[in-house]
Amino acid sequence: MDLAFTKEEQAFREEVRQFFRDNVPPDTRRKMVEGRHLSKDEMVTWWRILNKKGWGVSHWPKQYGGTGWTSVQHYIFNEEVQSYPAPQPLAFGVSMVGPVIYTFGNEEQKKQYLPRIANVDDWWCQGFSEPGSGSDLASLRTKAERKGDKWIINGQKTWTTLAQHADMIFCLCRTDNNAKKQMGISFIVFSMKSKGVTVRPIQTIDGGVEVNEVFFDNVEVPVENLIGEENKGWDYAKFLLGNERTGIARVGVSKERLRRIRDLAGKVESGGKPIIQDAAFREKLAACEIELKALELTQLRVVADEGKHGKGKPNPASSVLKIKGSEIQQTTTELLMEVIGPFAAPYDVHGDDGSNEAMDWTAQIAPSYFNNRKVSIYGGSNEIQRNIIAKAVLGL
């Protein structure tokens, strides 16, 4: 047992950090620290810088532009991105559809899509959830019917993150109504610019528009846009969701936020002195830091295990990551609310472009608190995670 990173790993961390210092646009970083929304251009600009460096799709196989890093290097890179902070690569393209395409797609599809994902020439969104299909995703009803050399797609997706920016969607569609619900689903990709696609923004309780409803009305999609085999889409979806086990803890994000809380708590006064001097507050902060330390160690156990034994059989501890990671993220936003006190109240009206630059940064703290309620809901709600532990780990 050894907790230490090797010299090479430490040097790698320094290299990553230095690259961020030199290359992340300062305004992008500021907005992230303050919890403001980034424009599409700001995000894409940064991702292209990253891709030019060769780090855009770091965990992909080398032949498709990956880095060949060890699992510990991936961990370090992830943590540095999150805690710098800089925008993480667009998960929908890089972590989700990309791996499905290079694992299950044909050569033509790999050539057509992968380089464009890496350079964010296409912004991808995820067509999974539907109004009637949340945790019970396999009950989805969006239909793809084969007509000649086309799929005709009808139905509705929801919670589609940043669909307003998207060029492409990967979509789970029902292609066989008679099979068991998991067996009749196919994985189809198509352009968001297709005729019959309508995007309707959903304003969330933080005031922002991160998510959308997407409607499909007789959308015509070429048959070759099916990824893998027809009716095997559920397998690909499970593969996709199981792919990103360690990033989900978002330890770096919480670390960055805790540093910010400590910093703010040294400035904001309560009872005539900085709130950090209040013993009760300080202990709450320490409690959160300790929880995060435990989670970081749990994550490192999973990372070290993957590095040694491969990703085949997931370490049971990996199921802790989503539950604890989301709880801790939520606690950090609660602590920020506590620090800012009555100045949580002012509301920053969002511009038409989704920007929220009008007011003082303190106005972003309550929205961030509201927004972070999502993290225990998305990606398989924490209740679903508990079902998974009960069944897969405890055998109940």
Partner: protein
């Protein structure tokens, strides 16, 4: 970055798990509890035979040169089997003082007896009002020529009744809560002026309250600096905390396993109660708590070797907090999920809960350590 055990460590784990599976089922434990001092000489002999009592000592002193990971393996196994024998008091704490501060003569006098199982030790530290502050020492050690005369009262000394040698914290100089002026002394349990009153503890171990009245010891009884040994005490107690974290992980593993087995077999409403989602989620939360505890136990084990004393103390305090929170949840819910049977002395789960609960109140509870981390500037 590596959390796996090496080959030798795996063998160590197999051997102690095997030994305890053979000789430490719940029924045997009840018998051991009734022996003098509350534990089994025969089991202690077997631990000695397998070299486990010499594990952390240097090879030059007759030991095996084991480190923190080896102790973690043993303590986890002892926790899992709910072992009564005084490994913590004798090998971890007693041995710790000798390893860190013992002179060659002191080691020669005490270590062989520990390793061969013929002698056990006890740590006489807690006082009426000291609670968890290690520097809060009212017991005095007055210099008399080359000798020291010890006067004071110590409480809840684990293995106090059976121990051959007591390791006593006493103040050579200063006031009760001064951080300097504290010494550590090796006192024969049968020395003149030592009076022991022993009793069982809530978790089935045995402890003693010990009064020292004009107990005179020679210069050879002094461990380290007689007037400035707080750092030594902190170091050894930190090692005891690490060991307790590992023991708690073993206890939690077994508690969770026993509970999951129980809810798979216990039937109500015609089905196994483990098929109910509310119970499944509770068991999942117990798993999460136990895994977070395991992570911090490993962290504490590795932090034991940190050079920087402040960083080391902070890490171990953080681990004790996580362990404390996890053990309370796992222990309480293990009883809850067992229902009525969990309330009885005849089911073993209650005994695990009791030992876990006593660990929370040993060498600083959750609040105490959380305050230490908070006042020390945090962890991030």
């Amino acid at each position: 970055m590596d959390f796996d055990l090496n080959e030798e460590q795996r063998l160590l784990k197999e051997s102690i798990d095997g030994l305890l599976t053979d000789s430490y089922d719940f029924e045997s434990r009840k018998k051991y509890m009734k022996e003098k001092g509350g534990w089994s000489k025969a089991v202690w002999g077997k631990l000695a035979e397998q070299g486990l009592l010499g594990l952390p000592f240097a090879e030059a002193d007759g030991g095996f040169g084991g480190g923190g990971v080896e102790t973690m393996i043993v303590m986890e196994a002892l926790g899992k089997a709910l072992v009564l024998e005084p490994y913590l008091a004798t090998v971890v704490i007693g041995g710790g003082f000798l390893r860190h501060a013992g002179t060659d003569a002191q080691k020669a006098a005490h270590v062989p007896g520990i390793i061969d199982g013929s002698k056990t030790l006890a740590f006489a530290q807690l006082e009426k009002n000291s609670r968890y502050d290690l520097f809060d020492v009212a017991t005095t050690a007055k210099k008399k020529g080359e000798a020291y005369v010890i006067d004071g009262e110590k409480f809840v000394v684990l293995n106090g009744e059976n121990a051959d040698t007591l390791i006593v914290t006493a103040r050579a100089k200063g006031d009760r809560r001064d951080k300097s002026g504290i010494g550590v002394f090796l006192v024969p349990a049968n020395a003149k002026g030592v009076a022991r009153k022993s009793y069982p503890t809530q978790d089935g171990l045995h402890a003693a309250d010990i009064t020292f009245t004009g107990v005179e010891v020679g210069a050879d009884a002094v461990l380290g600096n007689p007037e400035d040994s707080l750092a030594l005490i902190e170091r050894v107690v930190d090692e005891a905390r690490i060991a307790l974290c590992a023991e708690a992980v073993g206890l939690m593993d077994e508690s969770l396993k026993t509970t999951v087995e129980y809810i798979k077999t216990r039937k109500q409403f015609g089905v196994a109660i483990g098929s109910f989602q509310s119970l499944q989620h509770r068991a999942s939360d117990m798993f999460v708590a136990a895994e977070q505890a395991r992570s911090m136990s490993m962290f504490a084990t590795m932090a034991g070797d940190f050079e920087d004393a402040k960083e080391r103390a902070n890490a171990i305090a953080a681990a004790k907090v996580q362990i404390g929170k996890s053990l309370k949840f796992v222990g309480q819910q293990a009883i809850q999920l067992h229902g009525g049977i969990g309330m009885t002395m005849e089911a073993k789960i209650g005994h695990y809960f009791k030992r876990l609960t006593m660990i929370e109140n040993s060498f600083g509870d959750t609040d105490y350590h959380q305050r230490r981390v908070a006042d020390g500037g945090g962890l991030i």
